[in-house]
Homo-oligomer: 337 residues x 4
């Protein structure tokens, strides 16, 4: 059984997912594409050699009888609309981040999905599909370190462009940890605080870099998350979970151990695209396999909502300098499993 997929939005990430489904993964077939710029959609069809119809409009594509599932990879502000339409059409939909541009928008999707009575939406948080995070999760769930008490994390980029502003440290950068740590700890956030260390001189005047996000979860776990987007030396994701009897660290990406020039060293990545490249493959394959079996299991609309609420609280904390509460709607029983 091959899942027939339509792609709404054929920009960089949309094209990459179409390539992945067509040339790398198993069980999916791109049958329909659309983009606000129709010629862009046509170009992708040509480049990838797709056997897919080009639609003028996302809603038309969603309704197409030969489309089983959707990829929403269009401009962020359009996500909510297309995801709601997909739910209405009773079709599975994989939506890239963000699920919606506001927490309320995410909640609208949550409510629609609950009303539909069936999980249809997967949000494109790929870190839970990273093997390193999966090893962390498994070790925690296997009680290898007792209960988690603290998490020390860092998210570092070599540089960012001048357009990157202080709040993006939360909504573009920390958002990945805000998502993956909930899943890792099976927990929710209670309060957040942001402190500003001395600034690096290797940045633009307008940007506070680095920042430290301090989080308390409902279970009492304390998380410190360093965000440093002009660290110069590389793209580096660190995560260390301190439990009652031991500590586990996210593995470094695989690299040769080299002895040369008076150094014993391994490589650090410099391009973020390399870091989670396998996770994107596994994530989408998992979505396709889930549809084939009638139940998708990846990050939910609720997860998208929770990350949005946490990010809002962090941005507020950036501005207030205070400890801010993370206030969420009640979780529908629908999302317990």
């Amino acid at each position: 059984m091959t899942i027939r997929i339509g792609v709404i939005g054929t920009g960089a990430i949309g094209e990459d997912h179409a390539r992945r489904i067509t040339h790398v993964l198993s069980g999916g077939h791109i049958v329909a594409v659309t983009d606000v710029n129709r010629s862009q959609a046509e170009a992708v069809v040509a480049r990838l050699g797709l056997d897919a119809r080009v639609y003028d409009d996302g809603h038309e594509l969603i309704k197409a009888a030969d489309v089983d599932a959707l990829l929403v990879t269009s401009w962020g502000p359009t996500h909510e609309e297309f995801v709601l339409a997909a739910i209405k059409a009773g079709k599975y939909v994989f939506c890239e981040k963000p699920l919606a541009t506001t927490a309320q928008g995410c909640l609208n999707i949550v409510n629609a999905e609950v009303a539909a009575g069936q999980r249809l939406v997967q949000i494109g948080f790929m870190r839970p599909y990273d093997r390193g995070y999966q090893l962390l999760k498994q070790a925690i769930d296997d009680n290898q370190i007792g209960e988690p008490l603290m998490v020390h994390c860092a998210h570092r980029n070599p540089t960012v462009p001048e357009s990157y502003i202080t709040s993006m440290a939360i909504v573009d950068t920390a958002i990945h940890e805000l998502d993956v740590l909930r899943w890792l700890l099976n927990d929710d956030y209670k309060t957040v605080q942001v402190v500003y260390p001395r600034r690096t001189r290797n940045r633009f005047e307008h940007l506070a870099d680095p920042q430290v996000v301090l989080i308390e979860t409902h279970k009492g776990v304390r998380i410190d998350l360093e965000i440093f987007v002009n660290c110069q030396y590389g793209y580096d994701i660190q995560c260390s979970v301190v439990g009652e009897t031991g500590i586990i660290n996210l593995p470094e990406p695989q690299s040769l151990l080299v002895r040369s020039d008076a150094r014993l060293s391994t490589a650090i990545l410099t391009d973020w695209k390399q870091r989670f490249i396998d996770a994107y493959d596994i994530e989408l394959q998992n979505f396709i396999n889930g549809i084939a079996q009638g139940r998708i299991e990846g990050p939910t609309a609720w997860d998208g909502y929770a990350a949005a609420v946490a990010a809002d609280a962090c941005v507020k904390a950036q501005e207030s300098g205070q400890i801010e509460a993370v206030v969420m709607a009640e979780r529908p029983a629908f999302y317990n499993q």
Copy 2:
């Protein structure tokens, strides 16, 4: 374009490759299977949900008009016959190790392929598809350590069954290094020697374990390869290349770094099947992609022959205690590219 594949031999490895092509990889479709035990082939079709015809005979399957390419995963002594038949039929064929049970058998395949005037055969040496070995190869080819001068390797298993005899240290175990090191160094073997260290007491009386294989290549590189198949502690593949200006080591498999019980540690695999699991996927995907583009690029029939000749010399050296020459036929220009 989907490559239609027939599988000859549906034992463990044949079934696993069929699963891989059907549920993991892209671009291939299993349309035909056969096994000396027909019910076994039928069971695999059922288990994997294949849309494939079951043939009574490998030769019949090879000739089938709707079969574009073959997987030969039958009993070793039948490989030569089926590969030769595939070449005769002008079809691409992926043959699991060994290509043939004798060096002469391998040479027969080489000659047939040369006569056919086109590369049709890929032998199932998966290590060149391991990312770690690929990083080693790339570093050497990029001249990061100057010319390679020495290679220190180890191939260790936790235990082997009583049926494992001394010569199997070469033909079943060292054979993987004999293959991958030629590729890695872009070199051929000149002489081999085997020395026997003190034996471990954790083995059967009849087995000399560990062993050290000492190899000299045509370019003068010296390789020492430790084979230790009852090392108790894990399945561990080590490879360190010493060049004129630096040394590179095969990466350890990815693992959590753990602090617990007064140790700072990472895991060592104990099951060899885990070690190269990704390499099998990449290997077969590469074969399928190659066919789609009309040119396969994986390990050749000549590589199968070269490994067989080297293994024969090592077994001779095991018995003689002497330095033995590795004498190969002249390499057909066909295999230069």
Copy 3:
């Protein structure tokens, strides 16, 4: 030239320093000892084979004409008195932690030393003599990572006895980091905050463990210091300095790399006495060598005062749950060099 040293207090640490000076180090000779328990002092003389006179009283010993320098290793509440007496006698004095039991007591010593017009006091903070911390300091001073922006630290013990109470996480444990980080960063503390993660169940009811101390320095560096004194797995001191262009980590103590039982591992210490054993030797040798050259250079009375003030602020922050200011007297120019 041999420095003639008198020891005030021959308990565990006093005896160990006497042993060190007599049997390990060069240039010092123990000529006088005293203890509130005279028989204890006599026993140490016998055990170590010292050629030393036993005094009934510390003040008498301080005045002895053949005593060039003092070690104050008596009960903490007596330190201030003996150090002040040593300064009055114009003699060098090495005082174990704490310099005094209150910040004011430390300040009294500072003022006396300033009045004396010469550096006479060294406080027994040994971490600056640890080779690992010296490598960190040198790398920072050599500008290898640009300006330090953040420091991530941990101080972990396997267990503590029931007598250990929550404030001791500061005054007995964090005190070492409060000292060494000022020296490492060449900076002073501005504010401190203490947060309490979920408690480990491997502790006594009365103890909050772990704790996280959050510090801001005058230069703006942000320090997070995890204190976890029942971590079970070992005695583990971590320090990672994040600078503008790179990150440096305190080295792990030297250990064999072992492959066994499916783990690749090094040992973690479990006994804190092993961790800084070399640093104690270097610290005291440095004190002796300094006297021989007429100028001691180790941690000063001011450093003892600064650590005391910081610890007081942390204890206040433990209780208030607020960010607390670290308010110090003005630093005498005497301590600038």
Copy 4:
């Protein structure tokens, strides 16, 4: 009790040992020095501020009544003569490598010491005093890896001067492993073989570099020792012992772990003098302490002889290309303990 020591030969190593005893170690006092160049001896006395008499002649110094023990750090060819004289005088003597320039010369010393009926001689092999090697030894003796079966070693220097010739790879370089491995394994060598890998181009025409020394011990342990004295990247000593149940590796020298410039790295030493600097201190302190207790326990004259015999066999194997036997005199019971 202070041991009064006379130094014969005040070149670089002699001066360094005198400095060590005077300014770093405990329990020894340099009371006498001599050198073929008297002004050199006088200069050392002045530079180090020694309270020592300068003798015109080593034999005169050996006989001096106020000299308890000797350091022989003169030109190699004079060692045998001075050590024999020290034995005759019944005085303890620490002799730098080589004990004598021939195996026979070493045997003469062995015989003299046996005749004297007391251990008087310690040879300056410092590696057994290196903490890393001591950890290896302890792990083996504690049966942590079962019986040792193989040892993989490397001895690498960044470069050597043009005066370094092929045989020096044995007598100057491998000699350290020839000594330390006997001690480590508590074993003796049976045969040796030398093979020549492809030569590095970063060397002089006359020098075969690298070389691999293959050794079989009496217990059957197989050792491969890579000697590579123009490896460019650093001074690097590797030793990995493969036992029946696990593998232990000599620790890397302590170094900061650094993240910078897209590398995660530690430093490799480039100057051999840094590598065993602590071992020299411990070695001499151990010699002094041993004398104070009437029994020295460091490397013996027999160890010096054994290393000389092994080196002779290796040089023979360099020239013959054959496996050469290591033939030693019978070990006097005197050296069993």
